[in-house]
Symmetry: C2
Subunit: 194 residues, 2 copies
């Protein structure tokens, strides 16, 4: 079989894996990462649970693929925005938008880590792909003044400040508080880029 051509077997496997991922995200959006169940997914797909172990060797392997997928999605988004006209402002905007649209994805990447679970090296690479456009953005802004903070320092601050607002909002900690998170976010972005 030609290596580049996908035979029917491989094609079928890919389709099943994709459907599993879709249903996994559905489950996670409803009941959180801890409720992710291969059994439940299998049942939804009209299979028995052991059948799915042909496609994912463990629940952890599925989780890893979901994490990598989410990282890649976010990395693509940030790279695209970084290259666009709005630059860092665009990145900031897109970041919050993405997080609010897919809270479970954001929380899976930046929320409470699963102790004992070690992210594969691929995740580190993707995390750097997300950070790189921010670094590049601040490097481009850099003026000659010696007393201004370095662009890595500004990039880090950019990240932590935006994450501070986003993560609390996504985790629902602003519920019941009378104020507009969007306004706070805009103000923070303005201060970071001003």
């Amino acid at each position: 079989m030609d290596e580049t051509t996908e035979g029917p077997r491989a094609r079928y496997r890919r389709q099943i894996r994709e459907e599993v991922q879709v249903r996994a995200w559905e489950q996670m959006s409803q009941d959180g990462a801890s409720a992710l169940s291969l059994k439940a997914i299998a049942t939804q797909m009209g299979m028995t649970a052991p059948a799915l172990y042909r496609y994912y060797s463990s629940r952890d392997e599925l989780l890893t693929e979901l994490i990598l997928g989410a990282y890649a999605e976010l990395a693509d988004l940030v790279e695209r925005e970084g290259a666009g006209d709005a630059g860092l402002a665009g990145i900031a905007e897109a970041l919050r938008g993405w997080a609010l649209t897919h809270p479970q994805k954001y929380l899976l990447l930046y929320g409470t880590p699963v102790p004992g679970y070690h992210a594969p090296d691929a995740a580190t690479v993707l995390a750097q792909r997300i950070f790189a456009p921010i670094l590049a953005g601040f490097a481009a802004l850099e003026g000659g003044s010696a007393e201004a903070p370095s662009s890595p320092a500004r990039s880090l601050r950019f990240w932590t400040r935006l994450h501070g607002v986003i993560s609390l909002e996504v985790a629902g900690h602003f519920r019941g508080v009378e104020f507009d998170p969007a306004q706070l976010y805009r103000d923070e972005v303005a201060l970071l880029l001003g």
Copy 2:
């Protein structure tokens, strides 16, 4: 039986509940909140699992008690610091110290929430007890200048910025990055209070 006096039965119940909580935190520090198991705790205590249901009607009830306990601990700390000489700087310092000492407690309060789990009203009250000293601190700083942000806005910003640094550090997202989170934190505090 006098209402204020604790009989032997009540005393024993209290001791068991306390021991359960201690062991629960031990478990959570090692394996995270999702690994919290009444069965395992019971075994450690030389009991069978159903026995523990005399003391906690469900795993969720135990979790609720742990969350409320953590909130109360943090609220006490923040109130104490707020009343101390260092004021807001002291609160900031204590907050990071507490989070790094008890990462699981911090993550349980501010990390990924369990979907479907609704924090009891008591938690909201405690969350306000944590926020109040910060609000008071900025209200005290307030100058006459009309263009400066209001103290609620500054308080909120104080919270989100500090949380941004702390939560990423506690979740291990700074591992492998070459820089000092403590320095970043100090800088952020200085900017917030300067």
